[in-house]
């Protein structure tokens, strides 16, 4: 990934001293300092702070956590075509405030990101408007229609980092098989949404007592496992690198675990929403909790947390999906699905870690090192030579996420008024401050 952000020459040497360094790549946690030069980590010094180079900008972290910035593999950023929901500018500000230093944009824009020109457009718009890195994911199939392969080679050259049809699953197994086989030519990562659209139908809730009592149409969890099982068989056939974008069901965890045990090149993600919330949150027909896939029963949530700790689940994503007021001020069945999540991804993950649901090192690994590794990005590590995409965070600080403070253009958060534990004090992108807390 090329750094498209301009570096202030006067600020080109900085040191973060008195830091609680946590490198998720190794799990090592130690007091020390980070030396930044020209947007890269020039050195990581453990133990006593070294003498800062002359003219360096010294930041005293006062013992706060310093870790790599978050790489969010799944965010809808609005451009082009849905600027009323989100823009690269507003999304990047929200991201920076939430400790995200790289956003992977989904290709479900208008027009969809299925040509090198659109990838280029996004990168240029991001260079001029975004304060964090934006790495476009491009379409798996032309027009996201699930029929013809997109130009993976040309799209990669233009700067795409992975291939996905966003929230759409490729129903045709032959198309999917060819997409996975063809992606191998470029060692490209195929990120697939695993949902049998026919089985889901117009379902908006998980089948069970709650959905039945509320009179909501149910979307079986088997829609996910059926598609996932098919895909895993295609991985065995083709050998391509495959990433299940967002699993939500305990049985999906078992399928992924088995595939990994077999040695297949398979990884998967989970949304922070499915880790932190469960189906009961939709009670009262609260449309801000209407998500796709829908929120699941508590036993699924617990299984997902366990799988995250085990490493069966590789990454956590925000699944940032801004929706304007009108799309949510509707009866539950008619309201748009989705939630914003850039500002809350890390704080909610830290809350889970603080509650002991999952370890801090694993949470940070799933938010930084693992996604950066899957996408081949030069960030996500506290190591010499890595991009100086860093966060300084107080992992325990309690605060309340107020609607007035939301930076995203859309305000559809399921965590409004929620107590957070863990706050980003400073976000550095290529060594430059993208966010500094008040």
């Amino acid at each position: 990934m090329t750094n498209t952000l301009t570096t202030n020459p006067l600020m080109s040497v900085r040191t973060l001293v008195n830091a609680d360094l946590l490198d998720p790549a190794t799990g090592r946690r130690q007091r020390g300092a980070v030396l930044i030069r020209d947007g890269l980590i020039a050195d990581v010094v453990r133990g006593a702070a070294p003498a800062s180079p002359e003219g360096a900008d010294v930041i005293d972290c006062q013992g706060a956590l310093v870790a790599p910035g978050v790489v969010d593999m799944r965010a809808f950023l609005g451009e082009p075509g849905a600027e009323y929901r989100e823009t690269l500018k507003t999304a990047s500000r929200a991201a920076a405030a939430g400790g995200i230093t790289t956003l992977v944009s989904t290709p479900e824009t208008s027009p969809p990101v299925d040509s090198a020109a659109t990838v280029d457009f996004i990168r240029r718009r991001a260079r001029d408007n975004a304060i964090v890195h934006v790495a476009p994911a491009a379409a798996l199939t032309r027009g996201l229609e699930g029929l013809e392969l997109a130009e993976y080679g040309l799209l990669l050259e233009a700067g795409a980092v992975a291939f996905t049809d966003g929230m759409r699953s490729i129903a045709n197994a032959r198309v999917m098989q060819r997409a996975m086989a063809y992606a191998r030519n470029f060692d490209a990562l195929v990120m697939h949404h695993t949902e049998d659209a026919d089985l889901t139908g117009d379902g908006v809730a998980t089948p069970g007592e709650l959905a039945s009592r509320m009179g909501l149409t149910a979307a079986p969890r088997e829609a996910e496992t059926i598609m996932l099982e098919r895909d895993l068989r295609l991985v065995r056939m083709t050998g391509g690198r495959y990433h299940a974008a967002m699993i939500t069901h305990a049985q999906s965890v078992e399928l992924i675990r088995q595939a990994k045990d077999e040695g297949l090149p398979v990884t998967c993600g989970v949304s922070i929403n499915h880790l932190a919330l469960n189906e009961h949150d939709i009670s009262g027909y609260r449309t801000f909790f209407k998500l796709r896939p829908p929120l699941r029963p508590e036993e699924d949530r617990l299984a997902l947390l366990e799988a995250l700790e085990d490493g069966v689940i590789d990454v956590i994503v925000s699944d940032h999906n801004p929706q304007d007021v009108e799309a949510k001020r509707l009866p539950f069945g008619e309201a748009a699905a989705g939630a914003i999540g850039l500002e809350t991804l890390l704080p909610v993950a830290l809350r889970l870690a603080n509650a002991g649901s999952v370890s801090l090192a694993r949470v940070l690994d799933a938010l930084t090192t693992r996604p950066a590794g899957l996408l081949g990005l030069p960030c996500g590590r506290l190591a010499k030579g890595a991009a100086a995409d860093l966060i300084v965070a107080d992992t325990d600080r309690a605060w309340i996420y107020e609607r007035e403070a939301i930076r995203s253009r859309s305000k559809n958060t399921p965590f409004e008024g929620g107590r957070m534990e863990g706050r980003v004090l400073r976000t550095l992108v290529s060594g430059v401050d993208a966010h500094v807390a008040d």
């Binding site: 089948p207 909501l216 149409t217 027909y285």
Partner: protein
């Protein structure tokens, strides 16, 4: 509070569903409805409880019987009743439910009676208006006045509800009538069974505390009341069941299947009926059918509900 001292207390401003009501509250409404039946059978049917009040029947789904039942109920209580069928008006032009609610609210109605195709829509609307809201059916969620009129019909014919076996049969999955009836009848002490083909039973239905049956013979055994549900036409041809012919053969109520129930079992249907699909004409028009009485009870129950919620209207 404008509660006239003669009215029994009902602590809710809206009636959004049966869920959350106590047995005592349900019984209060049924007792009030019994009185309304007496009033409705007189030559002079008018009361003045709602005189000067404005009632709007806001129907986002077409309905003949529920809407006219609410209209007559409101008029018998002295309210000015306005019917608004939104299926054909501004909502088609893109106005949202909430916009419609706020517009109507500005006209200062006292009671809005709402039917909408989406579960939860009536609750959503109730949060945006200052008046009382009565749910006349929201998606597959609830239809509380139907459950009340069914309970009233049962109580008047059987003398009680407690201990009765009630078999609710047919398209439970899509039925708000079934949900409200399950809640109301269980709350009042009945044992409820759900009888339906597997594709029309909601997931985890047994978690409602009902017995689920897929076979009419076992489902109707010893039943005191058989409550048939309407099967929507669009669900008859292959999507949930193969055909209306097959449906009638296995789940339609005819004399033969009626014989599985108790000899004194009574038959109900919320209407409108599909004769020859879920019920045969002989049964629908037979001596054990309560179907026409249900319609009469509908007006009485709606009078009771309107009076009950109107106790909470301010007197300005």
């Amino acid at each position: 509070m404008s509660a006239s001292p003669s009215l029994p207390a009902f602590p809710h401003r809206h009636l959004l569903g049966i869920e959350g009501l106590t047995a005592a509250e349900l019984t209060t409404l049924l007792d009030m409805a019994d009185e309304a039946v007496a009033v409705s059978r007189q030559v002079e049917k008018k009361r003045a409880t709602l005189r000067g009040r404005t009632q709007i029947n806001l129907f986002f789904e077409p309905s003949t019987r529920t809407q006219s039942s609410f209209e007559i109920a409101g008029k018998r209580l002295g309210a000015d009743v306005m019917n608004m069928s939104v299926a054909s008006s501004s909502v088609k032009k893109g106005e949202t439910l909430i916009d419609t609610a706020m517009t109507l609210n500005a006209m200062r109605p006292d009671i809005i009676v709402v039917r909408h195709a989406q579960a939860g829509a009536v609750q959503l609307l109730s949060q945006k208006v200052a008046c009382s809201v009565v749910n006349a059916g929201d998606g597959a969620h609830e239809h509380p006045t139907q459950a009340l009129l069914d309970a009233l019909t049962i109580r008047r014919n059987k003398g009680r509800i407690e201990g009765l076996i009630v078999a609710v049969c047919g398209d439970i999955l899509h039925s708000r009538v079934a949900r409200s009836n399950i809640l109301a009848l269980q709350c009042l002490g009945a044992r409820v069974r759900c009888v339906a083909p597997t594709t029309l039973l909601p997931p985890a239905i047994e978690r409602f505390g009902v017995e689920a049956h897929t076979d009419m013979k076992s489902g109707l055994k010893d039943a005191d009341i058989i409550m048939m549900l309407r099967l929507q036409r669009e669900r008859m041809s292959g999507s949930f069941i193969p055909s209306s012919k097959e449906y009638f053969r296995y789940w339609g109520l005819d004399e033969e299947k009626l014989a599985f129930a108790r000899p004194d079992a009574l038959v109900m249907h919320p209407g409108p009926m599909n004769r020859g699909v879920e019920i045969s004409s002989e049964v629908a028009d037979g001596g054990r059918s309560l179907i026409r009485e249900q319609v009469e009870m509908g007006v009485a129950v709606r009078m009771a509900v309107l009076e009950a919620v109107a106790q909470h209207l301010p007197d300005y």
